[in-house]
Amino acid sequence: MSTTSSPSVQQPSGSGESLLQSLSRRRFLVVTGKGGVGKSAVAASLATLFARGGADSLRGRRRKVLIVEIDPRENVHQLLAAPPSGGDVVRIDDRLFVQNLKPRAALDQLVRRHLAMGLLQRRVLSSETYQQLSEGAPGLKEVAVLDYAEHRTRERGEDGLGPFDLVILDAPATGHGVSLLAAPLLLSEVIQDGPVGRRARELASFISRPEALGIVAVTLAEELPAQEVLELFETIRQRLGRRADALVINGLYPRLPEAWEEDPEAQVAAGDAAALAWIRRRRINQREVARLEASWNGPQALLPLLPLARGPELIKELQQGLAEAFGECCEATAAEAMDSEATEVGEER
């Protein structure tokens, strides 16, 4: 792995703070990636780190964090051993909250908050025509989701909770995550005037400012997800004029024993399917990590595939991996661990 991938040389501001500290100071983080790559687990791990100040580089600084999940099938609560949200904000502890947000509910809130509502307006809103039209209005629902999340970083919600220091959005798995991030621009082209159009413009400018909004992309070191994340980086650059803050490469098979270096497959018994699977998946991982690194020189975390079911124990391990990769070397061991995994992937290539 090249030295450029070390987080210590990728300071966003050059202020000497770690990427982890920098991310924790944003108001809004969007965690994006293809379905099944562990996006929710990364979102939950980052949220837990920030809420509990769990990394040395955070120096115990704790933030009040809300994870917003956009997926009809709830997922995040399971990782944090919390009850399902069913649409509401669920409190996990003093500083950690989770919500499964229905885009339609966000849209209703947007309308309530930004438009004067009389009887007539209420009737328009409940009409089937409006329901159908708002489905087709480009970017309207996505803007509503962003509006909701951003709003919760500034004010107390209708549920009496908040404001939150940081909202972490676990972006929808379908389509490229960029359709969410590009929605405000799109909508503001369609609606020139009025509060919704103004709000879309506001959000578009908010998204273009890395100091306010962080983008963390998650992928597996496998062909399709890696391809998709590279396309995502390119679209973010073109459409939003900025770049993602970090790349998390998740689910890596462990390194092979040194003794296998020359020709791994010759070292294991013929027909030892499990050993062969390990060797070959590791090989794919290396190939795809190399491909990702050829196009991405920003901060990245390499997280192992772990023999753990989805739950708090997994989150604990991932937190540690993220803290080591993105927290600047407050303890030497973190940097060393990072370096050793880095050298190893590089050497095996």
């Binding site: 099944g36 328009v124 798995a173 369609v190 020139q192 919704v196 070292q267 499990a274 079911a309």
Partner: protein, 374 residues
């Protein structure tokens, strides 16, 4: 009409053992390897002498390379170069919502002027690429086109990855309902007068002006104007949409269509697979078999504690592989028990995605032989 359709796909089919039905629809969550399996089934059927079409959405670069097709497959079916001795034919088409929609408009619009009005409409441009379910609906339209051509013995249809499991099956229904809906009837009316004001709003006076302002602020009057124009320009196409959607629904429920459900490995994926199976059943579609894909091999835990069967430095890998093997085995067993009325096949994790036709053939033959044994 539906008879024509049924004859259209599969008039000479039935040679590939294990694939009895001329239309196979491959369903499952994203990232489970549906597309590769669909392609591999297509390769085998063509090598056995059938004329086969594989319709797919978003194949990896590697799979496109393996099949030797590129972006041109978005425009029309592209023939895959099979060995010269191969008795059959294999075509691949990549489904692209926007392209299919454009083609429909080009084909069915009554004249050049309405065609231009639709294609240049801003609402259409957003709608055709972004409306949820449009990709699925377009797959259905494409299926209709293909079935009507009567060119193929067998069609293997890969479905788009969605979070809402069976959007694809519901798309024809949804589009039919939409076309019948009051919303559309309202939308087709002329909303705007020659001065570009909302008709209803003008009639309603002050109240109307308030409503107009409200709509303008919410979604923009310009946008509404585009919508209204679009629906009026689109009007002549409605009937065709309607009848085609109904035909394709019949085709998907016909006894000659079967569904192949592909599931990811591991206990955590079990609910996904169950959800698909239940939905298919409820909606009157026939689930022929379940494939659990990418199953890690099982490692027996013989050998005493502290011993490393793979030698020094293999501890972490061994523990992980054992855990994965166990997890996937449990997943397969749970599904087998829960879906006991359907044949279930577990396919081992592959070394890599197939990079050439030969590898696809091997995969396809493995799958078909497992399916026939079940």
């Amino acid at each position: 009409m539906s008879e024509t359709l049924n004859r259209g796909v599969g008039s000479k089919a039935g040679t590939s053992r294990g694939l009895r039905d001329p239309l196979t629809v491959v369903v499952g969550s994203g990232g489970v390897g549906k597309t590769t399996l669909a392609a591999s089934l297509g390769v085998v059927a063509a090598l056995e002498g059938e004329r086969v079409l594989v319709m797919t959405f978003d194949p990896s670069l590697r799979l496109k390379d393996a099949l030797g097709v590129g972006e041109e497959a978005r425009e029309s079916e592209v023939a895959v170069a099979l060995p010269e001795s191969a008795p059959g034919e294999l075509d691949v088409s990549l489904l692209d919502a926007r392209r299919t929609f454009d083609r429909l408009v080009e084909r069915y619009a009554p004249d050049a002027e309405s065609r231009r009005r639709i294609l240049e409409n801003r609402f259409y441009q957003h709608l055709s690429g972004s409306l949820s379910g449009i990709l699925e609906y377009m797959a259905v339209e494409r299926l209709f086109e293909v079935a009507a051509q009567e060119r193929y013995d067998r069609v293997i249809l890969d479905t788009p990855p969605t979070t809402q499991a069976l959007d694809f099956l519901e798309a024809p229904q949804r589009i039919t309902e939409f076309l019948d809906s009051r919303a559309l009837k309202i939308a087709v009316r002329e909303w705007f007068d020659s001065r570009g004001q909302l008709r209803a709003a003008r009639r309603l006076g002050r109240l109307g002006r308030r409503m107009e302002r409200f709509l303008d602020e919410l979604i923009g009057l310009d946008f509404l104007r585009d919508v209204s124009e679009f629906f009026r320009a689109f009007g002549p196409l409605y009937d065709g949409f309607h009848s085609r959607a109904a035909e394709v629904q019949k085709l998907l429920r016909s006894p000659r269509t079967s569904f192949l459900l592909v599931a990811g490995p591991g206990e955590e994926r079990v609910p996904d697979a169950l959800f698909f199976a239940r939905k298919l059943e409820e909606s009157g579609h026939r689930l022929a078999s379940v494939v659990v894909n990418r199953v890690h091999p099982r490692l027996d835990s013989s050998g005493g504690k502290g011993e490393l069967p793979w030698g020094p430095g293999s501890g972490e890998g061994h523990e992980l592989m054992r855990w994965l093997g166990q997890r996937d085995h449990q997943g397969v067993e749970s599904l087998r028990a829960l879906l006991s009325q359907h044949p279930l096949v577990a396919l081992p994790m592959m070394a890599d995605e197939p990079t050439h036709l030969g590898a696809l053939e091997v995969l396809g033959r493995d799958l078909i032989s497992e399916l026939t044994q079940e």
